[in-house]
Symmetry: C2
Subunit: 362 residues, 2 copies
Amino acid sequence: MMSNTEILKKEIIETFGTPCPVIDLDIVEKNIARSQSLCEREGKANRPHIKTHKSPRLAKMQMMAGAIGVTCQKLGEAEVMFEAGIKDILIATNILGAAKSGRLAALQKKVALKVSADNKVSLESYAYAANYAGRAIDVLIECDTGQKRSGVETVEEAIELAKVIKDEPMLNFTGLLFYPTKRSWADTQSFCSSLIPALKEIELTPQIISTGGTPNLANIGKLRESTEHRAGTCIFNDRMMIDDGFASLEDCALKIYSSVVSRAGINRGILDAGSKTLTSDTGNLVGFGLIMEHPDAEIVKLAEEHGFLNLESCQKKPDVGTVVRVIPNHACVCVNMMNEIVAVRDHKIVEVIKVEARGLLV
Amino acid sequence: MMSNTEILKKEIIETFGTPCPVIDLDIVEKNIARSQSLCEREGKANRPHIKTHKSPRLAKMQMMAGAIGVTCQKLGEAEVMFEAGIKDILIATNILGAAKSGRLAALQKKVALKVSADNKVSLESYAYAANYAGRAIDVLIECDTGQKRSGVETVEEAIELAKVIKDEPMLNFTGLLFYPTKRSWADTQSFCSSLIPALKEIELTPQIISTGGTPNLANIGKLRESTEHRAGTCIFNDRMMIDDGFASLEDCALKIYSSVVSRAGINRGILDAGSKTLTSDTGNLVGFGLIMEHPDAEIVKLAEEHGFLNLESCQKKPDVGTVVRVIPNHACVCVNMMNEIVAVRDHKIVEVIKVEARGLLV
C-alpha cells in the first residue's frame, strides 16, 4: 500500500509535473501563528515581510492572524499588496530608482505609504513623489548597527536626516528602521538610547521603531523601544532556518517536488530542479537543498535545469523516476522563481496560489 | 550637454524605474547573425537554445535569420514556442517529471516534438506520451563526453537505448545529443566514430547529431558528423562570455540598469539590483556583475534586493542616485528573473518584450 506521502507525490506529478513548489497550508498556519505569538509575547506589533511569498493570498492569512500590516522590499510588491486590499504598507528599502518612475507618487496618491531612507537623495525623491501625489509621506530613517548594508552608521547622520524630514512639509518623520545582526542587539539598544533623546531635542518622537529578520524573532525583546518587527522567511522556513536553530524539519512548509531524471554514473544523478528552480543562493550552506528522502545525497552543483547529485554517501540511491522533496536553502529566492505554488493540506492538493508580486521590474 | 547614454538612462528610469533589464536590439541582431554564420561556415544547422531569452519575439528573430528550429530545456518553454507558431522544437533534457503530467502528450498531439533521453525510464514515459498523443515521437539519445551531467557514458549504453527505441513503435530513433566540454571534442569525435557504425549494425542512422554551448560555436567543426548546434547565451552574451573570450564588451546586448541607492560607508554602496535581479549564479567569476561605468567597483555580495558594492579600488565613487549599467555574469538566469525586458535601439526605448516562458512550473 502506498503511504499518504507517496500518494501525494503521484498526484503532484500527474497534475503538475516536476519541478513543482508545494506548500503545506497546515504548517504555514502554524508558522504564521508562531511568529504572531513571538511578537505578541514581547509586546511588539507584527508586520511580516511579504518578499518571502509575494502573494496577497498569504499576506491576508498573516493579517487575519493579527499582523498590523505588511513590509515590502520593492515598490511593485507594495502595488500588488495594495491592489489586494492591504492598506498599511512599509517599504523597507531606499526605493530611489523606482520612485523616479512616478509609480511611487501614483501609489502614494491611493494610499498613505511608509517608506524608508538612509540618505538625502532618497528623501528628495520621496518628497517629490509626495508632492506629486498631494499627500505627505511617512518616512522611517534606516539605521545600520552591524549589517553594513544600508542605513546610517551614526546618531549624527540620523539626526541630520531627521532635520531634513522635519523641514520638508511633504515628509512626516515616522520612525526608525533597524536590522540588527544576531550579535548587534546591544549596539542597537545603545544606538537607540542615544538617538531618541537627540530626536527629542529637535521635537521628534519615533512612532515606529522597526526591527527585522526571522532568526531575530528570538531577540525582539532585546530592544526596549522597538514597536514592531518584520520577518519574512518564518512563514515557510527553510534549510537556513534549520541551520540557524529557528526551525525544525517539521516547520518547513515549502518543498520542491523534483524527479530524478538521470543516473548516468554509479554515484551521481540529476534532479530536474536546477538554478532556475532552487537558485544559486546557498545561504552559506553546503549544497543547494536538503533531500528529505535522501538526506545523505548532496546537491553539489546546479545547471539551469539540472541539479547535480553526489550519491557517494547515499545508502539507498534513488532510481530514475523517483520523486523527491527538496527543502531549499533559502525559501524567499526560491518562491520568487515560479508564477504559482501548489498548496496542500493533509496530503491533498487544495489550491494553486499565484506568486503575484514576482518578476516585476521595480 | 547629456550624452545619448545619459539621456537613455534618464528615459529608462523615468519610464520604468530601476532595476531594469535592457537589451540593445542592434547588438542582438548582430549576435544572432554571428552565431548563424558561425554555424553556416561549418555547414551545420543552427538550432538556438531559447532558455536564454524565453521569448517568442526573440526566437522568431532567430528563425528569420536562418535557424532551423529551436531548442528548449523545459516542456513549458516548448509549449510557449509552439503557441507562438514555431514547429521544429527539440527538448534537450530528460523531461521525465513533466512528461508524467500528460502535458507532453498534449503537446505531441499538436506538433511532432524531438525529445532526448539517457535512460529507459525516460523512454518509457515518452512512449506512453506518444501513444496517448497517437503520434510516434522523435528521440535523440543523450551522450556524455565529459560534462558528467546527464548522457550515457559509453557506446554500449547508447546502443542499449537505441535498441529499446527501435523496438518501440511509438519511438523514432532520430539522433544523438552531445554537450562536449571545451577539452572533450576529440573524445566526442571518437565516441561518434565508434557509435555510428555500431548503430548501423542494428540498422539505425542518426539524422541529427547535435552539439551545444555558446563557447563551443568556435569548435563545431571539430565533430565531423554533427548536423546542428544549440547555443543560447550568444544572443545576449554576458560577463562569462567575455571571460571565455567569445565576446567583447561591445557584444553584450543585455544590461541591468540599476541605481546606487545607498552610500552609507566611505568605501561601500548599495545597488537596487540584488539576488532577485542579478541572481546568485557567479558563473565562477569574482563578483556578481560588471559595472560599465565603474569597472573598478566590485559587486561583492547580494541580498535579495541589495547589491553590495566595494568601492575601495574605485577611483571616482558613484553618488547616491547614480544610474549604472551592469553586465550580468550569466544572462540566461538573469533574464529569467523578470516578466519583461526593455528593448532599445540607437539609445531609444522601442519595445517591451515579454519573457513569456519563464516562471512556469514544468
